[in-house]
């Protein structure tokens, strides 16, 4: 984005002249300037709380006062030997001041740090992709990058498509161009969702599915494809572990050297599973039982594909009734997908549809795509091949004293480094692991640590845990126990209501950050851009970058030797460009003065451009990792847990039963900027007033009629589940019995069993826009649950009872 500045004020904005953007922007770019940078309610000076926590009463104070308060607290924790009692919670990498610096600061000071938003966003989805496809292939697949210009059928589930799309691995502008061009070339887009969402009418067809039943639909497709011999046998034999032999006990069969086995047809004997890319004479073994000589005698076994088929058959037999309304269409669609393979994609959505069975549902979607052989094939999903390793930019001795000695750091979110002993990482590196190392954070452990007095102070930046974590009541109670809460932002939000001090952070166009992005263009090429956000205007009012504040705190604690010569505007980013081998051809100054660095490459279909990073070295229909770490590991806390069953499995979720009970589900709007949407009046104005109001509770018109409800009625929703007895993943039931009020909006475009609301539709902050007090805070009504191993905790479903109340 380029901004035109006159007299220190932004007067116009333009997109970059890059393929896909061609000078254009989406509405959110304008709204960011109007509704954030120049918002009339922007926080422009430090504030100090004068009322009770939650009252939102503040008076202005000085930066020095906040610096002293934080330094004094941190000094005490350091003296007590527990600097980790102080934590930084951060959220959006793109709304965030230098995310690498805050990790460096945390490493130097010994404090805790958590990307606490990440896990309620995409953490469990990323884990699923790493488990199934390995780390080298996961990131493109998690956002659903697809070679859409050659795709014939694209099925997108649980996502407001094409509005909240990620298909190009890009922001909205190039993606709209790509999906429109794909459709012009004949691609059919089909959405699967309980709600016909805002932008989904752009698609060619809507398949309304009962909440939580995606895996039943996918299993029906899997069964159909196998029954009709429409699977890609060659792909399965070369690149997946579909032929892997699994014993009757459900465990992988291995040879004396510990190698996974397949069945060789020519020798009628087991053989080590060949390296990816080779198929030798092995078989998929459908409908067959093999006998392999084991240490303790013969072992009867089947292939992973056969086990998947049996699982699909059982699911359809026992649970097919749950999707009876769409059954015929699903079978037909499976036939169409099979006939058009591999130029088809079935994408489960990025973050929506997160029922408690979401991890296994994602596994089922992945297995379906593997049967279609559509990974890195023309018209299928595409694995982006080009990215630079930029590192984190942390300074090293002799630039700064050594601070890494005796410490072990492991990969953290977005390429950051984190202490292996930290709350988010320790459970991922013990034996056996409790959670996968790709989890973004383990938020509930932080809340429990607050309850136990182990975390005593929080600095929150670019996140809003007060309402963005499920079970907001529990979280709110935890936060109130803290000794000190400091919240930084540009705009009022709920967390600020709880803060002891509010710091006015410089906005994204008042500070510096380097980013890299790869994406597919409408010109049929893979593009890579590296760009700098720089201070186009000075920080408004008395606002400052968070990094400035953190350095001041460190100085107050006598730690300035680590920070005194740091140049966070240019040198930090040049250090990263050096790491990537781009410097001095590309420098931070050149990026600011001349615009983004850009390179483009022809598409290259090559599954094995990097090794497949799973335990078998192949894409895994049967997850050896889930088997060995969890399901078949008696030492694992997830031993025998169906959520980590190695073959994708449908797990029924808790259901509404009474005539006034519903699934409560939610999703995003196209103009959504996470929970920040409702803080931004430029985004919210039309949203509140237009024909699809943002704050309403949507209800199927016929269901409403049966309850005697009319459009605009005020109703109360009471959370009645899921309880831990219905769903063992539930770890806190404080949400049960919580009630929220809102007005209903009747619609035909919603499954009768569901109520639907927009993410972040309801807000509670007394400091926010007047209109924003309306609507339901969905997270108040969601009991906290955690998916085994994947750590998924950001659920967007619960069970509620609805009743009409008088105005």
């Amino acid at each position: 984005m380029r901004v035109k500045v006159r007299d220190g004020r932004v007067v116009d904005v333009r997109g970059e002249e890059l393929p896909g953007w061609d000078g254009r922007l989406c509405g959110k770019a304008f709204a960011g300037i109007l509704g954030r940078v120049y918002a009339p309610d922007r926080i422009l000076q430090p504030l100090k709380r004068i009322g009770e926590r939650g009252e939102g009463r503040f008076i202005p104070c000085t930066w020095d006062e906040v610096i002293e308060a934080v330094a004094e607290r941190l000094k005490r924790y350091i003296q007590e030997g527990h600097p980790e009692s102080f934590e930084i919670w951060w959220g959006c990498p793109r709304q965030q001041d230098n995310m690498y610096f805050i990790h460096y600061w945390s490493a130097v000071m010994g404090t805790g740090i958590s990307y606490i938003h990440g896990q309620v966003c995409f953490g469990d989805h990323l884990v699923e992709k790493v488990v199934t496809f390995g780390g080298n292939h996961a990131s493109s697949l998690v956002v659903g990058v697809a070679d859409l210009l050659r795709t014939r059928i694209a099925v997108i589930a649980g996502q407001n498509f094409p509005g909240t799309t990620l298909f190009a691995s890009s922001c909205a502008v190039p993606t709209y161009a790509l999906v429109n061009e794909a459709r012009r070339r004949g691609c059919r887009f089909i959405v699967v969702d309980p709600k016909l969402s805002d932008t989904s009418p752009w698609c060619d067809e809507w398949i309304p599915i009962r909440p939580g039943c995606d895996a039943v639909m996918v299993m029906l497709m899997i069964k159909t494809l196998i029954d009709e011999a429409l699977i890609d046998e060659d792909f399965l034999l070369r690149y997946t572990n579909a032929p892997q032999l699994i014993g009757e006990d459900g465990k992988a069969v291995r040879d004396g050297e510990g190698r996974y086995l397949a069945w060789d047809e020519e020798s009628s004997a087991p053989t080590p599973l060949p390296p990816a890319g080779e198929r030798g004479g092995i078989t998929l073994g459908l409908g067959r039982i093999f006998e392999v000589e084991g240490v303790n005698g013969p072992v009867r076994c089947k292939t992973a594909l056969q086990l998947l088929y049996e699982e699909a058959e059982r699911t359809v037999r026992e649970h097919g009734w749950r999707i009876a309304e769409i059954r015929e269409r699903v079978i037909q669609l499976a036939l169409e997908l099979g006939a058009n393979r591999p130029s088809v994609v079935v994408y489960p959505g990025f973050t929506s549809g997160r029922y408690s069975n979401w991890f296994q549902t994602l596994r089922a979607y992945s297995a379906l795509n593997l049967l279609l052989g559509n990974i890195d094939r023309p018209g299928g999903f595409y694995i982006l091949k080009h990215a630079y390793n930029l590192g984190v930019g942390w300074p090293r001795p002799p630039e700064v004293p050594d601070y890494l000695e005796g410490r072990e750091f492991v990969p953290g979110p977005w390429g950051n480094l984190m202490d292996k002993r930290s709350i988010d990482k320790a459970p991922c590196y013990k034996t056996p692991r409790d959670f996968h190392p790709s989890t973004q954070a383990l938020p509930w452990l932080h809340f429990k640590a607050i309850e136990e007095g182990k975390i005593r102070a929080i600095l929150s930046t670019a996140e809003n845990s007060a309402v963005t974590q499920p079970d907001s009541k529990w979280v709110w109670e935890c936060l109130k126990k803290l000794d000190l809460i400091v919240v930084g932002d540009q705009l009022p939000k709920e967390f600020i209501d709880l803060a002891d001090y509010v710091i006015p952070e410089a906005s994204y166009i008042e500070r510096f950050h380097l980013y890299q992005r790869s994406y597919l263009g409408v010109d049929d090429r893979e593009h890579l851009i590296i760009y700098m956000r720089s201070a186009a205007i000075p920080p408004q009012g008395d606002s400052k970058p968070l990094s400035w504040f953190l350095i001041k705190v460190a100085e107050r604690l006598g730690m300035n030797r680590f920070f005194k010569n740091l140049d966070l505007e240019y040198e930090w980013w040049d250090r990263m460009l050096k790491e990537a081998g781009l410097y001095p051809r590309v420098t931070s100054r050149k990026l600011i003065e001349e615009g983004p660095y850009h390179e483009s490459h022809p598409l290259e279909y090559n599954v094995l451009f990097k090794p497949i990073g799973t335990r078998s070295g192949r894409f895994e229909i049967y997850s050896n990792e889930l088997s060995e770490e969890c399901y078949h590991n008696p030492k694992s806390r997830w031993f025998g847990n169906p959520h980590v069953y190695p073959i994708p499995r449908y797990i029924p979720i808790a259901e509404p039963r009474g005539r006034d009970e519903f699934y409560l589900i939610g999703g995003k709007a196209v103009w959504h900027q996470k929970s920040a949407t409702q803080h931004n009046r430029a985004l919210m104005e039309d949203a509140i007033e237009a024909g699809c109001p943002y704050t309403a509770i949507y209800i199927n018109a016929e269901r409403a009629g049966k309850l005697g409800l009319r459009d605009g009625d005020l109703v109360e929703l009471e959370c009645i589940g899921p309880r831990s007895e219905d769903d063992p993943c539930v770890i806190d039931e404080r949400a049960i019995g919580v009630r929220e009020r809102g007005r209903i909006r009747l619609t035909e475009a919603l499954h009768p069993d569901a109520l639907w609301i927009y993410f972040a539709a309801g807000h509670r902050s007394r400091l926010m826009l007047k209109k924003a007090g309306e609507g339901v805070v969905m997270n108040m009504l969601i009991p906290y649950s955690v998916s085994p191993y994947a750590g998924g905790c950001g659920k967007n479903y619960s069970i509620v009872k609805l009743r009409r109340v008088e105005d």
Binding site: G27, Y176, T199, P201, L683, A690, G691
Partner: protein, 222 residues
């Protein structure tokens, strides 16, 4: 001769609301939630959103609404101060010097496309007349990330606007009493275009923002 046309291609529109925000940005139209100080909204471009059919065979439609630049604008007939002007190229605009803010035009416009701005004067889409006169396209056209808005001269036989309109692919939205407009739509499968002037769901959506019209000040001519 020049006859300008603006066309919304509803097959490409992804309902992202960029045109709404870009329009407000270009013309400095304030954003705010409605409150006592600002009882009505300010907009040159807004949306009508509605659905039809019954579950599960249901469609949702969403179309941008602006001043249609009618061939024979009823707002001109009713304006007591002759403040609304139609140019030879089809562009209709409000002459702020002449407008007395009476609000009659806001009431009579069948599309609900005009509003009284914070300056107390009527306002509506003028197809970014200043930009157009200096050789640029309207801002919504320039910004639409889905390239769903097309602007051009219908008399330019080589142009896309001419092709879309002359082929019948792009069609005007003709409500009762309106014979022709300079704004067109390429309908998608969602709208039931021919039935729109009588489609109660659509008319209700169109009228949703007329529910709190400003009071008419002064007398109405003849």
């Amino acid at each position: 001769m020049t006859r300008y046309a603006l066309i919304f291609n509803l097959n490409r529109c992804v309902r992202c609301r960029t045109c709404y925000i870009a329009c407000k940005w270009e013309h400095g139209i304030p954003f705010h939630p409605r409150d006592e100080a600002h009882p009505r909204e300010y907009y040159r471009l807004r949306y009508a959103s509605w659905e039809w059919g019954s579950y599960p065979d249901v469609r949702r439609a969403h179309i941008p609404i602006i001043c249609m630049h009618c061939d024979d604008p009823i707002c001109i007939d009713f304006c007591p101060t002759q403040a609304i002007v139609k140019r030879g190229d089809g562009i209709v605009y409000v002459d702020k010097e002449r407008c007395n803010g009476c609000g009659v035009c806001v009431h009579v416009c069948p599309y609900g496309a005009l509003y009284i701005g914070p300056d107390g004067k009527a306002d509506g889409c003028d197809l970014c007349v200043d930009r157009v006169d200096s050789g640029l396209e309207p801002r919504c056209v320039e910004e639409c990330p889905a390239r769903a808005i097309i602007f051009g001269d219908l008399d330019d036989e080589e142009g896309q606007a001419h092709r879309l309109v002359s082929s019948g692919e792009a069609r005007p939205l003709l409500l009762d009493g309106v014979k022709g407009t300079s704004v067109y739509y390429v309908p998608s499968r969602n709208e039931r275009w021919d039935e729109l002037p009588r489609d109660m769901n659509f008319l209700k959506a169109l009228g949703e923002r007329k529910r709190d019209l400003p009071p008419i000040k002064g007398l109405i001519r003849g």
